[in-house]
Amino acid sequence: MSGPLLELRGATKRFGGITALNEVSLTVPRGGIVGVIGPNGAGKTTLFNLITGAYDLTSGEILFEGRSVAGLRPHRIARLGLARTFQNIRLFPSMTVREHLLVGQRGGGLRLADLLPSGGAARVGRAELAMRRFGLEAHRDRLAATLPYGLQRKVEMARAWTAAPKLLLLDEPVAGMNHDEAQDLAVLLRALRGEGLSILLIEHDMPFVMGLCDHLHVLDFGVPIAEGAPEAVRANPVVLDAYLGAPA
């Protein structure tokens, strides 16, 4: 298949009389890293909730691998190969890091292996790999929700990664991380992209976004105001006015 992995055409979401997202169109090519930026309340998280099926579209279309996902329930969409993290971290309070990485792996219905301890050797292996890649080995048996903020974000990302998604949706991945941690993460995400993973991310941290993304979309109050390569967006006067205009 050659088309884009994810394509939004005029995606619109209204809550009552309020338009949270108006006519957003964007594509994520295979192996691409696309960023969505914009001030608070710009509708970025709404966008993720639409893509993952947490909200229903008011109008427009969302295509994943050319197939419309509108009306599909969240677990169905997830099983198509889409995994996300949350702005307000949503870890399972009763679970250790290792358990998160086991439960997060794509199921697609009950399998016999799910009855084995930890879901079988293949799953244990993938969880171990995830812990190595995301630097969580030292915390494997800690309750994930008791870890420092930055580590909790990593657990969320690792959980999403263990599902072997085609597209990873990251909601403010470096919030709460210091500069070095953010740089490490950028390296890791580039490596994942090198393995064929596509990424759509929402972020406030400008240097991080500019350095990582191939393509940027700017939202302001739910309305797309600009898009393009990071350098072009940075230079766009409309964007400077709406968002980057604040001394950066």
Partner: protein, 288 residues
């Protein structure tokens, strides 16, 4: 073994199995105040099979469990629209409805009750308890159980990582119903006489109390709770008139200071697998 001891052991076994049914349902965050109804279905179905169709006990117990499980799924499906207290109230209504159904369902004796079963051995009850407990202990280590816990922890997040929360909740409901059905079938063949009053709201709340007291996060907890419910009154004879109040107080106390119940994973590890736990720890340290 004296008849008295046998009676106590049978009650613990029957109560323990039924409480495990509540435990499985609670594992997905659903509180059932109607599991006595599933006991009733298991009891009447199995009793009817052995008495009028001469079916063997094991087959009758399994059939009772199956029927109970099917009803559990049928109840569990519509109940998906309801959460928390609303679900608890719906199960309460279902329990009362089932009890009154057997009250006017004359083919199974109605208000006069049903009898004619042949008595089973206490050991049979405990073998069943062992099987159910064993399966649940093994299951607790599986990924399937992790997915149930995920639904309990955060249903929205569980859906978004691709878990079919609906199917898991209904499945847990059906499984819990089937387990309570096993208990009911054994109840019928121990007491030899069953009537709808055996399976009322009080029975349902007893099962919930057993789970909350004994421990709602490990399978051994509900069995411990059922044991306490049977044995404490026997040892508290000096306060015989107040023993139920003691349970009420204990229930509140547990909820206030130790919500996971008396037994939890840590305590269980400390009590049983100390050596293995000690081995596991340096292993974990080594990796770090």
């Amino acid at each position: 073994m004296s008849a008295y001891t046998a009676g106590l052991l049978a009650e613990i076994g029957i109560g323990g199995i039924a409480a495990l049914g509540v435990y499985v349902i609670l594992a997905t965050g659903q509180l059932s105040l109607g599991n006595a109804a599933f006991m009733a279905i298991g009891a009447y179905a199995a009793g009817w099979l052995t008495v009028t169709h001469d079916v063997g006990l094991t087959a009758a117990v399994l059939a009772g469990a199956l029927l109970s499980g099917i009803v559990g799924v049928l109840v569990g499906f519509p109940a998906l629209r309801l959460r928390g207290i609303y679900l608890a109230m719906a199960t309460l209504g279902f329990g009362e409805m089932t009890r009154s159904f057997f009250l006017f369902f004359e083919p199974l004796g109605g208000a006069a009750g049903f009898s004619g079963m042949r008595q089973l051995q206490v050991s049979t009850i405990w073998i069943w308890l062992g099987i159910v407990l064993g399966v649940l202990v093994l299951l607790a280590r599986s990924r399937l159980w992790l997915t149930l816990r995920a639904v309990n922890d955060d249903e929205v997040a569980a859906n978004l990582i691709g878990l079919h929360a609906t199917a898991l909740k209904v499945g847990a409901f059906g499984m819990g119903a089937a387990i309570s059905g096993i208990s009911g079938a054994l109840f019928a063949h121990w007491h030899l006489f069953i009537e709808p009053g055996n399976f009322g709201f009080e029975r349902s709340t007893e099962l919930v109390m057993a789970v909350i007291l004994g421990g709602s996060t490990v399978a051994a907890g509900p069995v411990l709770g059922a044991g306490l419910l049977v044995l404490l009154p026997e040892t508290l004879r000096f306060v015989a008139d107040w023993r139920l109040a003691a349970f009420g107080a204990l229930l509140i106390l547990v909820l206030l200071v130790r919500r996971q119940g008396l037994l939890d994973r840590n305590l269980l590890r400390a009590l049983t697998f100390r050596r293995r736990g000690a081995e596991a720890r340096p292993e974990a340290a080594e990796v770090s």
